[in-house]
């Protein structure tokens, strides 16, 4: 009896579990709405803000053919929109597999703190979902038909994931990065900005947040230099162009180091950037491949031009946008002490920022035509 007691105990435990628990929670995939992306809009503003949250769900009707549909819910808060979405859906809603959250510009300027709170407290939400801000209505972005993916949320997911190849973009735009950056001292949230141009979804800039409200949208040509100053180990192209027929382009990686000093109560930031790349296109110097002095001359010219463009952006950041986009407050807080009350935006906008750029050409390609 003693030998069998353990066996009887375990088998009876399993049987009890099966009797009481077996019918909940396991559904066939045909009865589940798998959501691939969510969009957040504001419908009306008075008397109370009403959110419209739409989810893009996969539809499996024919074999080997996946399409998508959009289910919309309207409510005074995010949890009510779930109830409103359920009354037009024939299936149970599955959270946790989203790829993209799309915020409209109105939602971003009004503040996204309540949306972030519901993501943070719910453990089933996927923490590696991309966040983007879009122009006009976010639900139009979800309803947009793309050819190569079942739904536009998949398309945006692929777009942001592969955007690190150019424009010095990083892959820090996930929900987990948003949690870390939002209320952190000296850091501000920066998200990609998408809109529909020429019937295609385009990444047309970067949006800068102060606390949880969006304050500025930076177009992609300027944002390239902002990314060059912020991101460590990012890839992109720098071009030295005198006119249409004389240019040199270099594609490479940038490494970044920041120091901070305090002189007479005023902060001074030193940003050291090192750009190593491959010369992709050269129509300016004919003796590039044979004369090392030309390469040196080119690197000096590129350094000067990049420094000038960086200073142009920094001037705009300190005077027009008035937000610390470059995460310099974080370095200052790490060096001199942390205090949640300090306003790093105004301190950085009044301080000196000195940029040092070093360019190294480490690859010349096959030859020059």
């Amino acid at each position: 009896m003693k030998r069998y007691s353990l066996l009887i105990l375990s088998v009876s435990c399993i049987i009890l579990y099966l009797i009481f628990n077996s019918s909940e929670g396991n559904l066939a995939i045909e009865k589940v709405d798998v959501c691939s992306g969510l969009s957040f809009d504001i419908v009306t503003n008075n008397p109370v803000k009403e959110y419209s949250v739409a989810g893009s769900v996969y539809i499996f009707i024919k074999k080997d053919e996946i399409s998508s549909g959009v289910i919309e819910g309207i409510g005074k808060n995010i949890a009510d929109t779930r109830a409103s979405r359920q009354i037009i859906s024939a299936k149970q809603y599955l959270l946790g597999l989203q790829k993209v959250f799309i915020f409209s510009e109105a939602v971003a300027t009004n503040g996204i703190k309540s949306i972030i709170d519901i993501m943070f407290s719910n453990q089933q939400m996927n923490d590696s979902t991309w966040n983007v801000v879009c122009k006009d209505k976010a639900i139009d972005m979800l309803k947009f038909k793309v050819i190569d993916f079942p739904s536009s949320a998949d398309h945006i997911d692929g777009m942001i994931e592969s955007s690190i190849e150019q424009n010095f973009m990083s892959s820090d735009y996930k929900v987990m990065d948003m949690f870390v950056r939002l209320d952190s001292e000296g850091r501000n949230l920066i998200l990609p900005y998408v809109e529909i141009i020429n019937n295609r979804i385009t990444l047309s800039g970067m949006s800068v947040f102060k606390k949880d409200k969006m304050v500025a949208t930076i177009p992609i040509e300027e944002a390239k230099y902002m990314n060059f100053l912020i991101n460590n180990k990012a890839k992109g192209t720098l071009t030295l162009q005198k006119d249409s027929s004389h240019l040199i382009s270099t594609y490479g990686n940038v490494n970044r180091k920041v120091h901070c000093k305090k002189i007479n109560g005023k902060y001074k930031f030193y940003i050291d950037l090192e750009f190593k790349g491959m010369v992709v296109n050269n129509t300016m110097y004919n003796d590039f491949m044979s004369n090392p002095k030309t390469v040196e001359k080119y690197t000096h010219e590129l350094e000067e031009e990049t420094k000038q463009r960086c200073y142009e952006f920094i001037y705009k950041m300190q005077n027009k946008y008035k937000v610390d986009c470059l995460e310099l407050g974080r370095v200052a807080a790490a060096t001199f002490g942390r205090n949640p009350e300090t306003d790093w935006d105004s301190i950085v906008c009044n301080s000196d920022i000195i940029v040092n750029v070093k360019v190294k050409v480490n690859n010349l390609g096959r030859g020059q035509f």
Binding site: M176, R330, V331
Partner: protein, 226 residues
């Protein structure tokens, strides 16, 4: 049997800690600086809260009669203290390194957040594995304390150990159900645990001192008689 259980859970804990090193790639040391920026008084105040992790060391005294190699027991106690210190520092270090000092205070379980970031293709969320291992570790702690409790009660009241086991079991199963949510549990524990650990430390130090003093005088007494 408890010993093999404890060894297995030790290895599982090592696995989680090694898995959490993956996060070092994505964040930076800036999250932790400046070191010692809060000042030494605040560090000492924080160390009072972490004393709870070193509790149950005094159970070593209960198993002392059964140990064969009595000389190595000092070395074993010191090594185990070192291991606990290392693990605790590692966990706190990784949580702050990954989440940053502002986010850590907003979370209920900071180390679970770190475990979520470890992405393997097969498993959707590493937190589930993390949870199973933590539950096993908690079970190990509870069973060791239960063993010690029954032994002590047996010694004091002379009731047989088997009866004590059966009496205590329903109490231990039902008591935790009174905590309805995390907030109540933390409030309750926050009041009781400082007193218990203080009592334990004072009690054990007192006994150690007494044993140290009495031993010498007894030895002299025996020598004189002989």
């Amino acid at each position: 049997m408890l010993a093999t259980f404890a060894t297995i859970t030790f290895f599982l804990l090592c696995i989680i800690l090694v898995a959490s090193t993956v996060t070092f790639r994505t964040s930076s040391i800036l999250n932790l600086k400046p070191f010692f920026g809060a000042g030494v008084p605040k560090i000492l105040e924080g160390s009072i809260h972490s004393v709870f992790s070193y509790a149950n060391m005094e159970l070593l005294l209960i198993i002392y009669p059964y140990v064969e190699h009595k000389k190595d027991i000092l070395k074993a106690a010191l090594i185990s203290t070192l291991v606990i210190t290392l693990f605790l520092t590692w966990i706190v270090f990784t949580s702050i390194y990954f989440s940053g000092p502002d986010l850590v205070v907003k979370q209920l379980w900071p180390f679970s957040f770190v475990a979520e970031s470890f992405k393997i293709p097969v498993i959707n969320n590493f937190r589930y594995i993390d949870m199973v291992i933590w539950i096993t570790i908690a079970y190990k702690t509870v069973s060791i304390e239960f063993y010690a409790t029954t032994k002590i009660l047996n010694n004091i009241t002379k009731i047989k150990r088997k009866t004590i086991c059966f009496i205590l079991l329903p109490i231990i199963l039902i008591c935790p159900l009174f905590f309805e949510n995390e907030v109540m549990r933390r409030a309750f524990m926050g009041k009781i645990i400082p007193w218990i650990t203080l009592f334990n430390i004072a009690y054990v130090t007192l006994i150690a001192l007494l044993a140290f003093l009495i031993d010498k005088s007894k030895l002299k007494h025996i020598q004189k008689d002989n």
